[in-house]
């Protein structure tokens, strides 16, 4: 597919802040935005003598996620200390998981509704739990080079999900992130807010350059940090691929000839920049944390978690397509909106027995209004059952789509039911004998049109449809047209 002389090889590390009430090893609140250093205690600030106690809720959320991304859950997992010095790390080590993570060897399937790449399973190397560090706030105003540390975030549970280097384009990387985020939202395990840092992405990227002799040459792996949106990830990867290609052409350097480099993405300048490598970052001297007990998870517990996952995005898409006959594109749009929108759609589709029409109404009307107002579907004034009454009226020919949309807008604005608004607007189904009489009357007054139609210019009947609609706005244009053509034939 690609015309490029190289393949891009991408692996992603995603840090997900789990939505627990309290931190991973103490009872401090994980609420975002509290004033600095107020959500701390002896444990999370590493006070001498304090000890960690694992938060079961955090482990439960991690387990749920790991099962949902098809990971194997070992029966035994333990905690390790990752040791390094940094001002936002009060104990001098981070409690993480090293050689026996709580889950490994999973996958996540990605596809592109627009068909830009073939659907594929991206391998997941491992997902492990660890505690977050604090935040360093550097205040270099007036050359004071003052640094302040906020330890509120210290100890917040993070799930680090490491993918295999299975993605071959920035677009695939974005699709992986989008699908993962959606899954996390369905699981209700994280707020997934990149701005607040509850979802963080680092990318590892290098190139496999085709040397023209059927061989591929790998360039040195670069880790990209500081990407604050999925779009930034896509752009940074595209930039980095091009940069690596240029560097390779210039230097000919291949993997192993230079140490792994870390580069930061500058979203303003749209470039990646080399970062000063951290002091002694290569040896974290991991060892098992003697303050914590290993965690045992039985196969029965894993099964119980699996059985309680609920329907996840991939399964939901398939069900919406097969049950309601909508396209993959439509199912993707609806499922991407989250579970409440899916439920809205399903209620509407069931009540109207018309999946395609329900899908159109949800996408073109409901989501349009929500986009404009920025509201949530749970607060939307028109409930699915109420909208179903209107859509059914359209199906039954009580009103046409354009009038129905007017009624819908009134429903949104006033919160009134479809029936009430149709009554206010005098919308009612025209009796078929009355409609026939109206058509006969209009045709009698327009011999020209009758003659034109008879002569084969069927579209001339459109003028009669217009006249009928002016006489009675409730008439169905389609019906008027059909009756007129029938009457003309009989003439």
């Amino acid at each position: 597919m690609s015309e490029r002389p190289y393949d891009i090889v991408i692996g992603l590390e995603v840090h997900v802040q789990l939505k627990t009430r309290t931190k991973l090893f103490c009872r401090c609140s994980t609420q975002f935005g509290l004033s600095p250093n107020t959500s701390t205690c002896p444990v999370c600030i590493g006070m001498p003598g304090s000890l960690p106690v694992m938060n079961r809720e955090a482990f439960g959320l991690a387990l749920k996620t790991a099962v949902a991304i098809n990971c194997h859950i070992p029966e035994f997992t333990k905690w390790d200390r990752k040791q390094y010095y940094y001002p936002d790390l009060p104990k001098g080590y981070q409690i993480s998981q090293y050689d026996l993570p709580m889950s490994e060897k999973g996958w996540l399937e990605i596809s592109d509704p627009k068909g830009e790449f073939e659907p594929k399973k991206v391998g997941i190397t491992r997902a492990h739990l660890e505690e977050d560090a604090g935040k360093s706030l550097h205040d270099e105003v007036a050359g004071k080079a003052d640094s302040r540390i906020d330890l509120n975030r210290t100890g917040t549970p993070l799930l680090e999900i490491v993918s295999e280097p299975d993605m071959r384009s920035p677009r695939e990387a974005k699709a992986y992130l989008t699908e993962l985020k959606l899954l996390l939202e369905y699981l209700d395990v994280s707020d997934c807010n990149m701005q607040e840092g509850s979802l963080r992405v680092d990318a590892n990227v290098n190139l496999h350059i085709h040397n023209g002799e059927g061989q591929k040459i790998a360039t040195p792996i670069v880790e990209i940090k500081n990407m604050n949106s999925f779009r930034a990830v896509e752009r940074a990867l595209a930039y980095e691929a091009q940069r690596q290609y240029e560097v390779y052409q210039e230097t000919g350097r291949t993997i192993g000839q230079v140490p792994k480099q870390t580069r930061g993405w500058d979203d303003q300048a749209m470039v990646t920049r080399g970062q000063r490598h951290k002091e002694e970052s290569s040896d974290y001297r991991y060892f098992p944390d003697p303050d914590l007990c290993p965690v045992i998870t039985t196969a029965a517990e894993v099964e119980a978690v699996r059985n309680n996952l609920g329907e996840l995005p991939a399964q939901l898409r398939v069900r919406l397509e097969s049950t309601y006959g909508i396209t993959p594109y439509d199912s993707d749009v609806i499922v991407s909106q989250g579970r409440p929108t899916v439920e809205y759609f399903v209620t509407l589709a069931e009540a109207t027995a018309d999946g395609k029409r329900a899908s159109n109404w949800v996408q073109q009307e409901v989501l349009r209004v929500l986009n404009e107002t920025g509201g949530a579907i749970s607060d939307f004034p028109v409930k699915a059952a109420g909208l179903a009454v209107l859509v059914k009226a359209v199906i039954d020919g009580e009103l046409d789509v354009s009038r129905a949309k007017e009624v819908f807008n009134d429903m949104v604005a006033t919160g009134k039911s479809a029936a009430a608004i149709m009554q206010e607007r005098g919308i009612e189904k025209v009796d078929s004998s009355a409609l026939k009489a109206l058509c006969a009357e209009l045709l009698a007054a327009s011999p020209r049109i009758v003659a034109d139609v008879k002569a084969g210019k069927e579209q001339a009947v459109g003028a009669i449809v217009g006249q009928a609609k002016r006489k009675n706005p409730n008439v169905s244009p389609g019906e008027v047209r059909a009756i007129c053509l029938e009457l003309i034939q009989e003439m």
């Binding site: 002896p42 600030i45 590493g46 006070m47 001498p48 003598g49 304090s50 000890l51 960690p52 106690v53 694992m54 200390r81 040791q83 010095y85 001002p87 009060p90 104990k91 001098g92 080590y93 002091e279 290569s282 040896d283 001297r285 991991y286 060892f287 003697p290 303050d291 914590l292 007990c293």
Partner: protein, 513 residues
Amino acid sequence: MSLLNHTATELLAKLESREVSSAELTAAYLKQIETLDPQVQAYLRVLPESALAKAKEIDARRAAGQPVGKLGGLPVAIKDVICTQGEVTTCASKMLETFVPPYNATVVEKLRAADAVLIGKTNMDEFAMGGSTENSAFQATKNPWNLECIPGGSSGGAAACLAASMAPLSVGTDTGGSIRQPAALCGVTGMKPTYGRVSRYGLVAFASSLDQIGPLAHTVEDAALLLAVLAGHDPLDSTSADVEVPDYRAALSQPLKGLKIGVIKEHFGEGLDNEIAAAVQAAVQEYEKLGATAKEISLPHSKYGIATYYIIAPCEASSNLARYDGVHYGYRTDEKAMLAELDAERAALVKAGQQQEADNLDTPLVRLYRQSRAEGFGPEVKRRIMLGTYALSAGYYDAYYLKALKVRRLIRQDYDHAFKEVDVILGPTTPTPAFKMGEKLNDPLAMYLEDLYTVTANLAGVGGISIPCGFTKSNLPIGLQIQAPAFAEAKCLQAAHLFQQATDWHNRRAKLQ
């Protein structure tokens, strides 16, 4: 007989019968401290005001007929490695000279709830690393039996304050022998409970998988009294065991029939002082006279105990002590001077045309870490941090740390096998009696061998007690170690109590003017 020569159990009876008040008793101990501690230097800090206030409060409650806790107003000394809220807790390190914990250790909470009177914080080797209390950054505690000798360590202050009758009860910690060895050298009773028996929450960690808090006292009965207060599951410590705590004092009154004693073959080899060997043999005979059966047993891997311990403990210590970096906790070097020095170094290098070297100089942050740690820690602590850091480094981990864990498992299995045959294991607590101050200060390896007979209990996680079983010709105490299976403290105390009922070594007190 002076009030202070009584055991804690006897004093508790006097308090309960209101023969003496807690305030009077506390005042008597404070007076004794004032008189003798300038010589012994067992205490880093004495807490007269808060102790007397607490004593008076307990007395008032007792007078009003209100409930009073199990320790009923008895003074208790606490090793300065255990956090006391609002009171400086130094670990005998310059690093924590001004550290005031905002919280109490769980054992301190328990002591307070039991109406103990916290009389002072006792001296120790810095961060509990050492066997002589000479590694304290502040003072060297003397052995009350001979002021030229060391009291043992690291809980040297905790043992010496008892030997000099400056407290009736004291709380220490034991990572490789730090309760039992000073108890032996000071002629008192000291117990390291099973790992997990007593909460470590609020104990400033040295080696987390080995550290355990325990009681020091004049008698087994007193130790049982204190252990009953300290022991129990704590939700704040994941490694504390949810195992029921028996009534230790009640257990002592149970007759002990058919006791099977194992005498450790390996503990009577090279390096053991002759007088100690004889005293321990005599103790075994005493047990046989009391109806116990003794047999020789083997802990074949115990010879690897010291080597294993000196890998695992420093590894954990190197990590536990990382937080003392001058940024979050601990002593911070004079920043201004440090920055000026750094600038001067850079300027000199630039001037000499060594730009590369100038660029490679520490960042101010790294220099702050380096210099604060260099100035804040003593030599033994640095030695162990370096040992541990080295052993955990990439390329060495498998050969040292992982190997040590494997040997540790074998040592644990040795105990499992031994306890299939016997109820308790007997042997000397230390290879030598108290030695002269300074004697082993420059010979760390000789100092490490002090823990020869005690480290295996920590590695295996089992409990052990040291009780006095004799004196050398030069009148220095000798300790008998009794080890019991995990969570069998009651059995251990019963066996030790049996001996004390038949002997009077534990009743002797050092005579100081």
